[in-house]
Amino acid sequence: MAETAAGKGVAGRAYEFLLRPEASVIVVSLALVVYFEIANRNFISNANLQTISQFVAAPVIIACGEIMLLICREIDLSVGQVFALAPFIMENVGDVGVPVPLAILAALAVCALIGLAIGLITIKLGIPSFITTLGMLFLITGLTLTISRGYPANAPGGPVLTGFMGAWGYSEIVWALVIVAVMHIVLRHTRWGLHTIAIGGNIVAAAEAGIAINRIKIGNFVLTSTLGGFCGLLEAFRVGSIDPLAGGSNIMFLGVASGVIGGTAIAGGAGTIVGGLVGGIMLGVMQDGFTLQGINAFTFDIIIGAAILIAMIANTHLARLRGGLQR
């Protein structure tokens, strides 16, 4: 053992680090930061860092849930719609005189129930989560539009709560980092996380070991919907108004892309929360950087799309290289 540790050395450790899926993303992100700073000068400024952090926060929070689901071979396509619904629940509950903090909890409870419904339909009725959540996607959109009658509303709450929940420039990213830290611990240092990985890696083995597969999968659906709703609330407080068309599939795909860019396997069994953070940062840096460059919105989508593809191809092929060693 001592020999292998000594034999690794700095070069060996560096090589090991570079093999990790997160590593290439970190390298690319740093290169992008350098490029954008040289090209714009204002890239690393307080104002712009705030903007980047706001680009990054929401996809990262969504990614924390999606990564757990992807690892156990499920997905939630409707989390962006829960994102839009949550603030309206809060607003409507608040309208009947419930204090805002309680209204927030009520909104989160509704989101958790939606996650529970998705989980039960998927697991108990045997519908693939891709289909369950595709149905939910339309259902919840309709629900939000019905509740809001299609009009935006003002976010409730006093200045302190609003600042805490998202209006202060960095509060959303602080929330995101706290959630990342907690979810990292859940995934790496609790039985829940270990069992989630085991289910995605070998469901037969997990069943034979006696792992409660259904409970863990349903739990991860509840988690994802709740995080999606929480993220929607943060965004509503930051912007100051509630938009029935906020979030949507765009934010869901950014969350999934963050996770996958950061090394989460679409086929399940592997992934890290930190990877999702790194992937989200890369997407945020690109989004912000190209906007500063003044690139036209149409071109911008082409660049983002290509970047996601390249990152995912790189990720998949690096994974295949690593997998090639394993099989």
Binding site: I185, L194, I197, N202, A205, G210, Q326, R327
Partner: protein
């Protein structure tokens, strides 16, 4: 030798298919029983009843002389019955020590229950060393190991969980000679400890006769032959099976 487990007149049907039609068997501590039989003969069904995965339609199971109801895998496990499955109940993406402690994780931090990685690593290494399974590091991903090493890890996991009755479902299937040797040696070491009752399902007659103390043949859900391996030849077993083939061709 004291009897560890006895199954009496086990009947199990799946719809109109009779998987087991009154099968009886018993194994003592320190003894290894080999169960041979064709695909679909009922061997795996018998194992799955002993692990609590299936419940028999009728018949009785005794552990240490007491009648027991094996209603679930957990109930069987609580009685010291551990099974190593044919499909290797290991997760490739996880490390050796995570696999060895899957569902029996060691925790710290009281109610929060964080995984005690350090203690699991230490104990996994200890348990492997104790039964002579050599791996470079318990932190290696199981997927990086060979089939024989993986099987050895699976056996080690079952043994280290205080198994008193060890069921092995085709432990040598799809293995080359060297890999199989690794497992045969491991089973020999476990036998030498004398406290384990081992039931092994196999296809290979030569290997079964070498490893086991007693051998049993199941055909169409019934025990058609049972004998000490010391007085059994592979030829004898083959004759019975040949007769069956001939009958099948005639019928």
């Amino acid at each position: 030798m004291t009897e560890a487990i006895r199954a009496e007149n086990i009947v199990k049907t799946f719809g109109s298919v009779i998987a087991l039609n009154g099968v009886s068997m018993s194994v003592s501590r320190g003894e290894t029983l080999g169960i041979l039989g064709d695909n679909g003969a009922g061997k795996s069904t018998l194992i799955k009843i002993l692990t609590g995965y299936h419940q028999p339609d009728s018949g009785e199971v005794n552990v240490d002389g007491n009648p027991v109801r094996l209603g679930s895998v957990d109930e069987a496990r609580a009685l010291g019955i551990e099974c190593v499955y044919q499909d290797l109940a290991l997760v490739n993406g996880l490390s050796i020590y995570h696999n060895m402690f899957l569902k029996r994780e060691l925790l710290w931090g009281g109610p929060f229950g964080f995984l005690n990685h350090r203690e699991m690593r230490r104990r996994a290494a200890e348990a492997l060393a104790e039964i002579g399974v050599a791996v470079p590091s318990v932190e290696l991903e199981v997927g990086l190991l060979s089939g024989g090493q993986r099987q050895a890890i699976a056996v080690a996991r079952a043994v280290s969980s205080n198994a008193r009755i060890l069921l092995l479902d085709e432990p040598l299937a799809a293995m080359g000679a060297r890999e199989a040797r690794l497992i045969i040696d491991l089973i020999d070491r476990l036998k030498a400890r004398g406290e384990l009752a081992i039931v092994m399902i196999a296809h290979n007659y030569a290997q079964t006769l070498e490893i086991c103390d007693r051998v049993m043949l199941i055909q169409h859900g019934e025990v058609t032959f049972e004998s000490q391996t010391a007085t059994t030849s592979a030829e004898e077993l083959l004759d019975i099976v040949r007769r069956e083939y001939r009958a099948a061709r005639a019928g």
